[in-house]
């Protein structure tokens, strides 16, 4: 798909995100907006996947969202890819919905393969799926997304140690480096230091991408894919801005988990062209 087509989809996804969060006055718009370009590039350009959802995903690439709180972007991209009807996005975080606050398999929403929300667990899950792929001689690729703040969880580093040791080279981990977490800037709350050096020291192939530039992220994902199968897991340090696309939400932790009011919704939507049609 052409870059400008992907960009149009991303704009619609961003509209979905702010509308979903506004609709239930709850949820996490900041990280969702920041990762819209990545998820659109992944699902509309990069991954081999079938919206006629099958849990086992034989012959398909798999994506795991480890930082489950950015569920709005995940749900929008899944719906826009055809996993379920976009009208269901309106039920986000409401009672009797399959579109739970954090991604879950429990209500059998197509596209979700593991629950996430409690942070730090997705990389381990992805490694497990990657091992099963290898055992089945399925050449598909496993993708993950993590928040940078999430790396403060110890389990991430257990998994980071495991993957190179066991040569899990069908795995592309992307870290959303937006520098923000709930209580403030990551550097102030709990510094991560030099992430490139850390992952390289653990034995990963590390790369960098600009996550809010559709051309850059698309090329980066293609490059990452070319680097699979070479004995090392791949870590994509993706620079983004929390809240990207809505000027008053950008670059601050304040919009990590706050919903816009009616006025703010109008102001946000004015900056995001409707391209595919609202739900």
């Amino acid at each position: 798909m052409e870059i400008n087509e992907l960009t149009k989809i991303a704009s619609q996804v961003r509209r979905d995100i702010v509308r979903m969060v506004h609709g239930c006055q709850s949820g996490h718009p900041g990280g969702s907006l920041g990762c819209a370009d990545f998820l659109v590039a992944l699902y509309f350009n990069q991954m081999k996947h079938d919206p006629a959802f099958n849990m086992d995903a034989a012959g398909e690439d798999i994506f795991f969202l480890s930082n489950g709180h950015i569920s709005p972007v995940f749900y929008s991209v899944l719906a826009r890819s055809g996993y379920f009807d976009i009208v269901e996005l309106a039920t986000f975080r409401k009672i009797n919905s399959r579109v739970q606050g954090h991604p879950a398999t429990h209500e059998h929403l197509p596209g979700i393969r593991i629950a996430s929300g409690s942070l730090g667990q997705g990389l381990s899950v992805a490694i497990g799926a990657a091992i099963t792929k290898k055992r089945h001689k399925d050449p598909s690729i496993i993708y993950t997304l993590h928040g940078d703040g999430e790396l403060q969880e110890g389990q991430i580093w257990e998994a980071a140690m495991f993957a190179p040791h066991h040569k899990i080279d069908n795995l592309i981990m992307t870290i959303d480096v937006n520098g923000q977490q709930i209580d403030g800037p990551v550097e102030k709350i709990m510094s991560l230091g030099n992430l490139r050096a850390k992952f390289e020291a653990f034995g990963w192939e590390v790369m960098h991408s600009e996550g809010n530039d559709m051309a850059s992220i698309t090329i980066a994902l293609q490059q990452a894919k070319l680097n699979t199968g070479k004995g090392k897991p791949i870590c994509n340090l993706m620079q983004t801005q929390m809240g990207f696309g809505v000027d008053f939400m950008m670059g601050s932790h304040k919009w990590h988990g706050v919903a816009p009011n009616d006025e703010q919704l109008i102001a946000a939507l004015a900056q995001l062209p409707e391209t595919l049609g609202d739900y």
Binding site: I114, A115, Q121, G154, A159
Partner: protein, 319 residues
Amino acid sequence: MKKYTYTDQKDTRSGFGVGLLEAGRENPNVVALCADLIGSLKMDAFIKEFPERFTQVGIAEANMMGIAAGMTIGGAIPFTGTFANFSTGRVYDQIRQSIAYSEKNVKICASHAGLTLGEDGATHQILEDIGMMKMLPGMVVINPCDFNQTKAATIAIAKYKGPVYLRFGRPVIPVFTAPDQVFEIGKAWMVNEGKDVTIVATGHLVWEAILAGEILETMGIDAEIINIHTIKPLDEAAILKSVAKTGCIVSAEEHNRFGGLGDSIAQLLITKHLAPQEYIAVDDSFGESGKPSDLMKKYGLDAESIVKAVQKVIARKGV
């Protein structure tokens, strides 16, 4: 009292090892993971025969649970192996979110449960694991009574689809159940029919209950003994039927009295059939170092303690 004899004494963890190998032979989707305790979990035979189906995770149990959950996507049936303490308390949130809530077909196999791991002491002697696991929606909780039953249970859980917690231990105890038994998840096993009191026991306390039954017989008390190898789902019908006949019950387990089998029984009785109950369980304390048999005695988990509890509960009948 039905006579139970044994010619052999073995640890239940070895039953797991043999069962795992057999489950692996029966189904190529069965895979195993271990967190640096292969020897303790008796996983060597499986690893030798199926090296490509084994994953060594190192000392990283949280990662192991997540990897096991992920492996199920694509059809693998992972069996995780580590001590009961590191299989539950240490990784509760990983089990809760990635396995139980996500409805993944993972078999959490836990050795060295309870006081009877002995000399290592309280850091390793988990007495809260049954409670934690049975509280998770959809989790099956199994605690077999001897080597043969642990082997049979291991084979059975590979055929069941859904998360399972399988608890076993280190002490060498009599092998008194049939080697060729078919294990039915959730189906209580009648050890001895009696009329004066019901004793429901789980794990190796079943053998202590049998010893207690023999002592009680000499005292003129006819005990019905039931092996509750599956704590969840509980065989409510078997328990209610027995209590309707005997009018009182003693529960016996190597677990804290809060949250274990005893509490499941009490909840059942209070809602379905009121009857006096006594608990054989650890009285809300941590364990300590010592020989397994000495610990069983000190913490009131032996046959003698069961006899006393039976006398007490019978005295409460009709009061």
